[in-house]
């Protein structure tokens, strides 16, 4: 049966897509601009026999995720920047204990309490600073509501495949804008859950899930084992979109999420005026699409990072470009959203300086 299209807010669509991906357990604590996710879950999960629980704090919520993940069920939480920061410790425990879950961060302005307007200031938090110790999280960054829908099933599959929490990172606009969406057919993939702590049965081995290893040699071996997984993720899970790149444009904008969408509008305008500009849009923020970007370095004369931040993802671009080409940055913060007009002006000014 063809799926009916629906008109949904990003947050609602994320929640519905999670449920359709088999997530029947949600634990969270409200924070703007993602409150429609728990709101929607609280309405829908009882209809599918699931569990919705508003925790007393983000710290409590992430530890409930630990428990549900350890029991081998699909579970998620959602929050926004400062709330996600509070989940940091528990998320690290989940990596250590190899527990799958999906964590959605709908970013708002920071630092501190900041404001409730859209932001991309958590790139570093999610790809570098989330949780203590040696660890990584796959971080997926949608650019449209439909992409966010499609990403939820993928996020749960990746979490199960690698037994590691997976992050979906959206700016406030992705969460709040409304677009028509279609929900994909549920994934056919099944995963081994024999490791889960679901009660020891006679004759079975006890399943112990933990992140505590008091013997340093054992802990080192455990960390090395985790990094074998991360190495596979870095090889297999790089995702990106290269847009308007076929004619080897001299100027390439790197942007993700909503900012990439604004950049596309700007690139259309620039191209209409004869400026050749392309877009490199990471879809996985971690693993950063190193191999994809590397193929464009030689042909490009200037990279321009554009973000709703003071310049976070651009550091990954610089890491790949490694000094071979100039990598510049322009961004807005505080909830100020770059405009098409501003991006057009930035590109023209910088192209002129290049002698283009």
């Amino acid at each position: 049966m063809a799926q009916r299209r629906m008109l949904m807010k990003g947050t609602e669509a994320i929640a519905e897509a999670a449920i359709r991906a088999g997530c029947h357990h949600f634990f969270g604590y409200p924070i703007t601009p993602q409150n429609e996710i728990p709101e929607y879950m609280s309405r829908r999960l009882p209809q599918v026999g699931g569990v919705y629980l508003q925790a007393e704090s983000e710290v409590a919520a992430i530890n409930m995720l630990c428990g549900a993940g350890a029991a081998g069920v699909r579970v998620m939480t959602s929050s926004s920047s400062p709330g996600v920061a509070l989940m940091s410790e528990g998320a690290s425990y989940m990596v250590g204990g190899e527990l799958p879950a999906v964590i959605v961060n709908i970013m708002r302005g920071g630092p501190g309490l900041g404001d409730i307007q859209p932001s991309q200031g958590d790139y570093d938090q999610m790809t570098r600073g989330f949780g203590h110790g040696d660890k990584h999280f796959i971080v997926l960054a949608p650019s449209t509501v439909q992409e966010a829908v499609d990403m939820m099933a993928l996020a749960f599959d990746l979490a199960d495949e690698y037994r590691n929490p997976c992050v979906v990172l959206g700016d406030g606009l992705i969460g709040q804008m409304m677009e028509p969406v279609t929900f994909p057919e549920p994934s056919e993939r099944t995963f081994d859950r024999s490791w889960a702590a679901t009660g020891k049965k006679p004759g079975q081995r006890r399943n112990i899930l933990r992140s505590l290893f008091l013997d340093p040699e054992v802990l080192e071996k455990h960390v090395e084992k985790l990094f074998e997984k991360f190495k596979v993720m870095e090889l297999k899970e790089q995702r990106y979109e290269a847009w308007m790149m076929d004619d080897a444009p001299p100027v390439v904008i790197s942007a993700y999420g909503t900012t990439a969408r604004i950049a596309k509008s700007a690139i259309r305008e620039l191209r209409a005026e004869g400026h050749r500009v392309g877009l490199f849009r990471p879809i996985s923020a971690w693993p950063f699409p190193v191999d994809g970007l590397a193929t464009y370095v030689e042909q490009t004369r200037l990279f321009l990072g554009i973000e709703m931040s003071m310049g976070q993802m651009v550091e990954d671009v610089r890491r790949v470009v490694a000094g071979r080409r100039p990598v510049q940055f322009w961004g807005r913060t505080g909830g100020m959203v770059p405009t098409v007009e501003e991006i057009v002006a930035q590109v023209k000014e910088r192209s002129a300086a290049l002698g283009q």
């Binding site: 299209r5 629906m6 008109l7 309405r43 307007q117 409304m178 596309k264 940055f329 959203v337």
Partner: protein, 255 residues
């Protein structure tokens, strides 16, 4: 001849979350301002048209974000002022209540969705309830939780109860943004008529996206039709702004 859309001096829009109340509030206020401009040319007294942004739920895409553009088109927009406009706090200022009490003001109340949003209107029921008002339920069948008429009717009753006012009609606002077809509009109108019948009120208006304006009359010859042009589009789709009030061109941060 399609009937004209007439409402009482004070019109409050309520409905499920995301049914399109804010865009409709702006569109209907401009429609009213247009009607009044015609009347004024024929000698009627000048009457202010005011949209009161009572939405205490959604954090972005609120009618307050286009206040400047609305005032340029002859419609005043009342919302929490200055930085408070950018909060998600349930603020109803004295001037917002005062607009309803102003006897010549034509007022459209843009209310947050669901029963929880309608509670903000309920807190103003003392001033709205003593004047002539319309309380209109806005429905978009393409939204979640709109599967059966029974379900929508039950939800609508809860919303009306929270508003502490009496429902006077239904607005059929089924759309899919730019992808809306005439079939969508007809399909939505079918539900609106069922819900209106169950709630014992008339369908008062068929609202359609601007690109369907000419086709809509044929779908419902008995109903007024108002074409709604989106005013709170994301900037990259050719629209506006997010936060309000919004400082213009600033330099940005570069390296």
């Amino acid at each position: 001849m399609t009937p004209a859309f007439e409402t009482c001096r004070v019109t409050a829009l309520i409905g499920p979350f995301g049914s399109g109340k804010s865009e409709l509030a702006l569109g209907l206020a401009l429609h009213r301002a247009g009607q009044l401009a015609v009347a004024r040319a024929e000698g009627a007294p000048v009457a202010p048209v005011v949209v009161v942004d009572l939405d205490v739920l959604k954090p972005y895409f609120r009618s307050r974000e286009v206040g400047d553009r609305m005032s340029a088109e002859g419609v005043a927009l009342l919302a929490p002022r200055a930085a408070l406009a950018n909060t998600d706090l349930p603020i109803i200022s004295a001037e917002m209540r005062g607009a309803v009490e102003q006897p010549d003001a034509q007022v459209v109340l843009d209310v947050g969705g669901d029963p929880v949003g309608a509670r903000a209107l309920g807190s103003m029921a003392d001033v709205v309830g003593v004047t002539e008002y319309d309380l209109l339920l806005v429905l978009n069948r393409h939204r979640p939780f709109m599967d059966t008429a029974d379900h929508v009717v039950e939800h609508a009753r809860q919303i009306v109860a929270a508003s502490c006012l009496r429902l006077t009609g239904v607005i059929s606002n089924t759309h899919m943004l730019d992808e809306t077809s005439a079939a969508d509009v007809a399909w939505g109108l079918e539900l609106a008529r069922q819900v209106a019948a169950a709630l014992d009120v008339p369908v008062r208006l068929l609202a359609v996206p601007a690109h369907l304006a000419s086709e809509a009359h044929a779908l419902a010859p008995d109903l007024p039709v108002v074409a709604i042009r989106r005013r709170m589009l994301p900037e990259f789709l050719g629209g506006v702004v997010l936060a309000a009030p919004r400082p213009l061109a600033r330099k940005g941060n570069q390296s």
